[in-house]
């Protein structure tokens, strides 16, 4: 089959399936097949258009535009995430290079990694007495583990040939780290950062339900207003944002793919 035709066909199929989904949703809601007053797709799309057409209004903390809330969430995620990456990469390199660092830090990593980051929320509130910093703190804890573990693994499994070349040239430790180890493990670091970002974006929604403001709080607020269609609007926007963030890392990973 011609490639252009096949691309067009996939696109057509995607549009068709979306249309079927929207119509089915509308029919089920209208007939009350699920529960009474369940919002249909037409109502939801109407809300989506309403929210998106004026995204940045500000009528006080309980009435913010969806764009404003999204930016608040993104800001928390980006700050907490960036801090986590800044800590995780050097720490991961250290753990990968030194047996001592590995054996002294690994128990903490293994113990803390499986804990839901939300468990840290009360700790953050108690220590910082500030919901903004607590949000950032929770995202920090969320983001640190995948990047840290991937970085350490990357260093530990680096192709020994690169290190032998560097050593045979008499390169210093810092030159070896900067010019050999870090570029060599870029694919591992980016894979870790991608997972970290994915998890951070999952956790921020839950955390914000308890923090006030942000896209997660928007959902909580609309639950209190019993406005399910607005919650669907938020779900669509959260999903779309997460998708964009993930694609960005996919693009970076392709850039740093040394194989083949």
């Amino acid at each position: 089959m011609n490639k252009a035709i096949s691309t067009r066909l996939t696109f057509a199929v995607a549009i068709l399936s979306l249309l079927i989904f929207i119509i089915l949703w509308q029919v089920i809601a209208q007939q009350g097949l699920l529960v009474k007053n369940f919002p249909g797709s037409f109502k939801t799309i109407g809300s989506l258009i309403w929210w998106v057409s004026d995204p940045f209004f500000d009528n006080g903390p309980n009435d913010l535009g969806i764009g404003t809330n999204l930016l608040i969430s993104l800001r928390r995620v980006l700050i907490g995430y960036s801090l986590a990456v800044l800590v995780a990469i050097p720490l991961g390199v250290l753990m990968g290079m030194s047996k001592l660092a590995q054996s002294s830090l690994n128990p903490y990593v293994q113990l803390l990694k499986p804990v839901s980051p939300l468990a840290w929320l009360p700790v953050g509130l108690f220590v910082f007495r500030n919901s903004e910093i607590t949000g950032i703190f929770v995202i920090f804890i969320t983001s640190i583990w995948p990047t840290l573990i991937n970085t350490a693994f990357g260093v530990a499994s680096i192709n020994p040939d690169y290190l032998r070349v560097s050593k045979s040239l008499g390169a210093s430790k810092s030159t070896t780290i900067r010019r050999v180890i870090l570029p060599a493990i870029m694919p591992n670091i980016l894979a870790g950062m991608r997972i970290s970002m994915g998890t951070a974006w999952l956790v921020i929604v839950a955390a914000e339900m308890l923090l006030g403001t942000g896209i997660g709080y928007f959902i909580w607020n609309e639950w209190n207003n019993l406005s399910l269609e607005n919650i669907f609007v938020a779900i669509i926007i959260i999903g779309f944002t997460g998708f964009i963030l993930d694609q960005f890392f996919g693009f970076l990973q392709d850039k740093f793919d040394y194989s083949i």
């Binding site: 040239l169 008499g170 570029p183």
Partner: protein, 288 residues
């Protein structure tokens, strides 16, 4: 580096560039926390032992032996990548303490950094060894060595875009760019097809003639050793491999690939090498 080096008198003998004295290497199992207390009785794998060898300046020496005999270990020791368990390595009258830019190393798998272009791979070596050199200087020198191996046009390509032979030529250019007086090669042509291998062997010989370097080549190919070397060092099968024989190859240079195979001296040495390798390989296979 080379502090507290011991001077070796070279007055009476031929001037040897590299000298190995009672060299041995044992790989011990990794020390566990608990093992710190129990000192003695650490068992290990003895790769090579009692290696004594002298290599004269600007000669081409091949080390040949059955697989797993510790040839690569020997080369790593000379390169300073690993420390010997016993014995000494003397270069230009001084005991080495580690790796150094006086020795260029070429690995079997080329060991080019995949995130750097061809020329950047060479520049990395130059920047590491000569940090004082200016950017333009480094670039010029890297270009010169790429030209020497005939790859000037590939200077902005990444290793994955090159064939195996081209990669190894880049690795040779990188090793020579730092101006070493010794070239250590660990089965450099082992992964290449026969035609590329002969091409690179010829290229290596012409580079060796032009650039006054001592070459130590690890190989398992008898033909390769005979074509290239002034001296062939035979190793016994491991573990605890030793040097069983040193054979000088008194064949006139330049050696013609086709004609040399009819030379009686060539045939005589070849037979001897084959016999030795067969015997040692049999020893390996029958033990395991």
């Amino acid at each position: 580096m080379n502090k507290k080096s011991s001077k070796i008198s070279t007055s009476n003998e031929n001037y040897s560039h590299l000298e190995l004295i009672n060299l041995g290497k044992i790989f011990f199992k990794e020390k566990k926390f608990i093992d710190f207390r129990s000192k003695g009785n650490r068992s290990g794998f003895e790769a090579i032992k009692d290696i004594n060898l002298k290599i004269e300046k600007n000669t081409f020496v091949s080390i040949i032996g059955p697989s797993g005999c510790g040839k690569s270990t020997l080369l790593n020791l000379i390169a300073g990548l690993q420390a010997p368990t016993s014995g000494k390595i003397i270069i230009d009258g001084q005991a080495i303490k580690g790796p150094g830019p006086d020795r260029g190393v070429i690995f079997q798998n080329y060991a080019l950094m995949p995130w750097l272009t061809t020329i950047q791979n060479i520049e990395f070596a130059l920047n590491t060894v000569f940090p004082a050199k200016t950017k333009a200087d480094v670039k010029e020198r890297a270009r010169k060595y790429l030209r020497m191996v005939g790859l000037e046009k590939a200077s902005n390509k990444f290793p994955k875009e090159l064939s195996g032979g081209m990669k190894q030529r880049v690795a040779i250019a990188r090793a020579l760019s730092i101006n070493p007086n010794m070239l250590l090669m660990d089965e450099p042509f082992g992964a290449l097809d026969a035609l590329t291998r002969s091409y690179l062997q010829d290229e290596l010989l012409s580079i060796w003639r032009k650039n006054k370097v001592t070459v130590v080549l690890i190989t398992h190919s008898i033909e390769e050793a005979l074509l290239l070397s002034d001296k062939i060092v035979l190793m016994s099968s491991g573990p605890s491999a030793i040097i069983s024989e040193e054979i000088s190859v008194d064949l006139e240079r330049p050696r013609d690939r086709e004609k040399i195979e009819q030379d009686p001296t060539y045939l005589k040495i070849k037979m001897r090498l084959e016999k030795h390798l067969l015997r040692e390989t049999r020893a390996v296979e029958e033990v395991t």
